[in-house]
């Protein structure tokens, strides 16, 4: 295998292929697009969290000049009006019932946006209120009303071996894993840490809000432009809704203004498409950020967890019960629950494990994928508890972790691929970077935390490369460029393999009519899976050209010597493009190399790879105000090989910054049925002034992944440990243990006050328990 230093294009930070368009304002996002004859849709939203729709009178709206159509749950004809890749529980517009404040109840299509907006006032909806179920405890209470009182079909990409849907009461999904004998291990443990933790509801804030332009044309073909991460998932849902064959549904993804998981799976595309179907015109549905707040959020989680160690500092057992508040519809929360269940184990060898997770429906905004997919929710409790145990053992927290981390080749889950990373090495590197042994200034605390995520999702990834006789190459990829830089990375791999300059490679996609199937763009899979598919497609193209070269030279293939970018026989050398021109005796012809990855061979074992997060922070606590700021932040991307080192580091910093946001201030707050802070005036995300004073971005390149040249994915691992890092560092400097994110100044200040008050009567540190 080529090693760092051997590569010509790969492993170099080449200019981004989308760079000039993005810095000159010419990159066109879906929100910038208009189609000929395009009309605009606006959405009327439910003011109630849980209500029966008695009647909808839209006659006045339909009569308003400029209005083309009104769509309600009564106007869906013979459409199959439910979508969802996991559970088809989500009506494209409310049918008979609303399940959260903000749920679409009707849409107006008009010649212009303002007319559509004004016509919403003309629609009269009569509701009969039902008891709103606003939290997990109410949803699970005996006799609680069922938020979904009808059965649903399983989605096409459920991701569970068991395709049957088993909704019990308001439990959307249960996940259970267990090995060893947990009760026995706890009974004989030297020390046990036990507690309840809470991770808040959060909003990804992709800066481009959800937007889709749908064109259901007179020939029954549906084309949708959308700011979507998973165009093939959207295609499947649309094909089901409109009962169309897959080839009559075309989903095109232009530039995407941020995703972070929030644009995974189907969102507003069925509603936009139904508007176009109803209006007989192309229709644009552009949500505002306020509406995006009401479309998808991250799952909040209440985690009851206990972990046991023996006297030598070996973890002997971990047991946890996790409740996710999934909101009104399943979306991807069943998979969030499943992944969190695996990920709460951490990168540790634990002989006795029992985890029980529940994704629970409530009458709140639907929760779904968010960067880290369940890992951030459970790394906070798991890694907080690691520090609690280290203290009980009187052991250095870094050493305690090193004692228990799985080495490469060791298993942390009996049914999973062994660890394919150097987690102890990553931890040592971050410890050295932060100089953990150095004395701390007053009010400073330091912590390093770890996570291990079973990443990559289900490996079905198909790719094509087109090789032209003029020396240019197109990569046709259904993996979406959402800013992570995949169009650059995939082009680097093609340039490396084909022996052409990077600038000669063009990325085409995502467009479901042109690019082959790629399950999804998420779970950090693109470099690993699509990168490998592109590599294999290039090699398959080269194999074809070699056959052609043998014919061109009039010799057997074995008599040709392969050199970078072509073949040689004697003194005569022909490049791949030259062979094509010789073979076809015409300019312009191109050939296609392809690769079909599926779950087989070395991709049989799950996960595709383990995504490691090792992050260290040093914080500075203002004990007068409770405000925490980051003095230092250190990340390490254990990515096998960084195809593009600068962008890999940038992914880690971006992820850690999101983790800091949830760690310090991000939280969606409900007051009764209403989301109280669903605007960017009130929802606080990290700003320039929140940056750590010292930032260290490291890479571990051990070429130990199944991706191209031993690469593995990145970009999510560094979000997970940050909350626990902050909580542990705060405990280290101030002695208060906070078990609820975000760790706001108010919570810190209160905890410090409680500690002072209890100092006279008890020496034990104050604790903030999980209460809202």
């Amino acid at each position: 295998m080529k090693r760092p230093g051997d590569f010509r294009v790969v492993n170099h930070s080449v200019p981004r292929s989308d760079g000039v368009a993005k810095v000159t304002g010419t990159a066109t996002y879906t929100s910038d697009m208009t189609l000929v004859h395009m009309a605009w849709a606006k959405v009327l939203r439910s003011p109630y969290a849980h209500a029966r729709i008695v009647s909808i009178d839209s006659s006045a709206a339909r009569k308003r000049p400029g209005v083309i159509a009104v769509l309600t749950g009564d106007d869906l004809g013979d459409l199959y009006p439910y979508y969802g890749h996991a559970v088809k529980d989500h009506p494209l517009v409310a049918i008979g019932k609303v399940r959260f404040v903000g749920e679409p109840v009707a849409a107006v299509v008009a010649e212009d946006e303002l007319t559509a907006q004004d016509a919403l006032d003309d629609i009269n909806v009569e509701y009969e209120e039902l008891t709103p179920i606003l939290d997990v405890d109410s949803a699970l209470a005996p006799g609680a009303q069922k938020i979904h009182d009808r059965g649903y079909r399983a989605g096409n990409f459920r991701g569970f071996d068991d395709q049957s849907i088993d909704i019990k009461g308001n439990i959307c999904q249960e996940v259970h894993i267990a090995w060893g004998d947990v009760e026995k291990a706890f009974a004989s443990a030297a020390h046990i840490a036990e507690g309840e933790f809470y991770f808040p509801m959060i909003y990804a804030y992709a800066m481009e809000p959800y937007v889709a332009i749908a064109d259901y044309d007179a020939n029954g073909k549906l084309t949708v432009y959308s700011s979507a991460q998973h165009p093939f998932m959207v295609r499947q849902d649309l094909a089901d809704v409109f009962r169309l064959p897959l080839n009559n549904v075309r989903v095109i993804v232009p530039y995407v203004g941020g995703g972070y998981g929030s644009k995974s799976y189907t969102k507003i595309e069925p509603l936009a498409a139904a508007c176009s179907w109803k209006a007989g015109r192309p229709v644009k549905l552009q949500l505002s950020v306020e509406e995006a707040f009401l479309t998808t959020r991250g799952d909040d989680a209440r985690v009851r967890i206990r972990t046991a160690v023996d006297a030598q500092g070996k973890i002997v057992a971990r047991q946890a019960t996790i409740h996710f508040d999934t909101g009104a519809y399943a979306e991807n929360s069943p998979m969030v629950a499943r992944k969190a269940t695996n990920r709460i184990v951490g990168p540790y060898r634990i002989p006795n494990v029992k985890i029980d997770s529940f994704a629970v429906y409530t009458n709140t905004v639907p929760a779904s994928s968010y960067r880290g997919l369940g890992a951030a929710q459970v790394t906070f409790p798991g890694e907080s508890q690691m520090d609690e145990l280290a203290e009980k053992l009187r052991m250095d927290p870094v050493q305690f972790r090193l004692n228990n981390l799985a080495n490469r080749g060791e298993s942390i889950n009996p049914v999973a691929r062994p660890i394919d990373a150097d987690v102890p090495g990553d931890l040592r590197e971050i410890a050295a970077t932060l100089q953990m042994e150095k004395p701390l200034p007053p009010h400073h605390g330091r912590s390093i935390c770890c996570s291990a995520s079973d990443a990559g999702a289900h490996p079905v990834t198909l790719a094509m490369v087109q090789v032209y006789g003029d020396g240019s190459v197109s990569v046709l990829s259904g993996s979406t460029e959402i800013g992570q830089g995949s169009h650059t990375v995939l082009a680097q791999i093609a340039a490396e393999e084909m022996g052409v300059p990077f600038e000669k490679v063009r990325l085409v996609g995502s467009d479901t009519a042109i690019t082959l199937f790629e399950r999804s763009t998420g779970a950090s899979r693109t470099t690993t899976l699509m990168g490998r598919a592109v590599l294999e497609a290039c090699r398959e193209a080269i194999a074809q050209i070699k056959t052609m070269a043998a014919e061109v030279f009039g010799v057997a293939q074995e008599d040709l010597i392969e050199e970078r970018g072509g073949v040689r026989r004697g003194d005569k050398r022909l490049t791949w493009p030259e062979i094509l021109e010789e073979y076809f005796q015409m300019q312009g012809a191109s050939i296609v190399g392809r690769a079909y990855l599926r779950r087989a061979g070395d991709l049989q074992a799950v996960p595709v790879f383990w995504e490691i997060g090792v992050v260290g922070v040093e914080i500075d606590v203002d004990e007068e105000t409770g405000k925490i700021r980051l003095d230092s932040l250190a990340t390490i991307g254990d990515v096998g090989l960084a195809i593009h080192p600068a962008m890999t580091e940038s992914q880690d910093l971006g992820a850690a910054t999101m983790g800091m946001g949830v760690g310090l201030f991000e939280e969606l707050i409900y007051d009764g049925q209403q989301l109280m802070n669903g605007t960017m005036l009130e929802y606080r995300v990290p700003r320039f002034s929140d940056m750590a004073s010292n930032i260290y971005l490291k890479l571990a390149q051990n070429q130990d992944g199944v991706g191209p040249y031993g690469a593995k994915g990145g970009g999510e691992g560094s979000v997970n440990p940050v909350g626990a890092c902050i909580a542990n560092a705060l405990y280290q400097t101030s002695g208060v243990r906070i078990r609820r994110l975000p760790i706001t100044p108010e919570r810190v200040w209160k905890a410090l006050q409680e500690k002072k008050e209890s100092a006279s009567s008890s020496r034990s540190p104050a604790q903030v328990l999980s209460k809202k």
Binding site: N11, H12, S13, V14, P15, R16, D18, G19, V20, A21, K22, V23, T24, G25, T26, A27, T28, Y29, S31, D32, A204, Y205, A206, M207, E208, P209, V256, G257, G258, G259, Y260, V289, G483, Q484, G485, A642, P645, A646, M647, E649, S650, Q651, L653, G654, A656, T657, M658, T679, M680, L681, V685, P686, R687, F688, M691, N694, I695, Y696, L697, K698
Partner: protein, 167 residues
Amino acid sequence: MKIAFELNGAPAELEIEPRETLSEMLRGRCRLTGVKLSCEAQVCGACTVLVNGLPVSACTYLAYETRGKRVVTIEGLAESPEKLHPLQQAFLDNFAFQCGFCTPGMILAAKALLDEKPHPTHDEIIAHMDGNLCRCTGYLAIVKSIQQVAAGAAGNGHGSGDGAGKR
């Protein structure tokens, strides 16, 4: 109503609605879609354009207020795709964006800073840029880009790769 102003260096005259925002005018009438709309509440800075050299949030600034003034959008910054503004080049060199949605506003906000103060301190950069949000990068590369231009250093188009994040 009719207004006359200067748009990216050229005289412009437009018929607008009195209630029209600058972003609606620029995106809708002028097709300058480099002006991005996100929070629509003067929080995120994605819609930042320059009016008489000062950064304004086009989402909440009335189009009418630009009468007789100079308006610069991201489309007016580069002489050509080959000859970018130094800030645009610095953003490329430092990989100071991912999704790119905040980038036009970021670059224009930075331009306003450097036009007024060609050699800002680190703290001055942070204070000036604090009204522009980026959800992708964690900001470090943006600060480095601004510092690169302030230092007058021409980029080579390649990040260092190893330890590029250290400062």
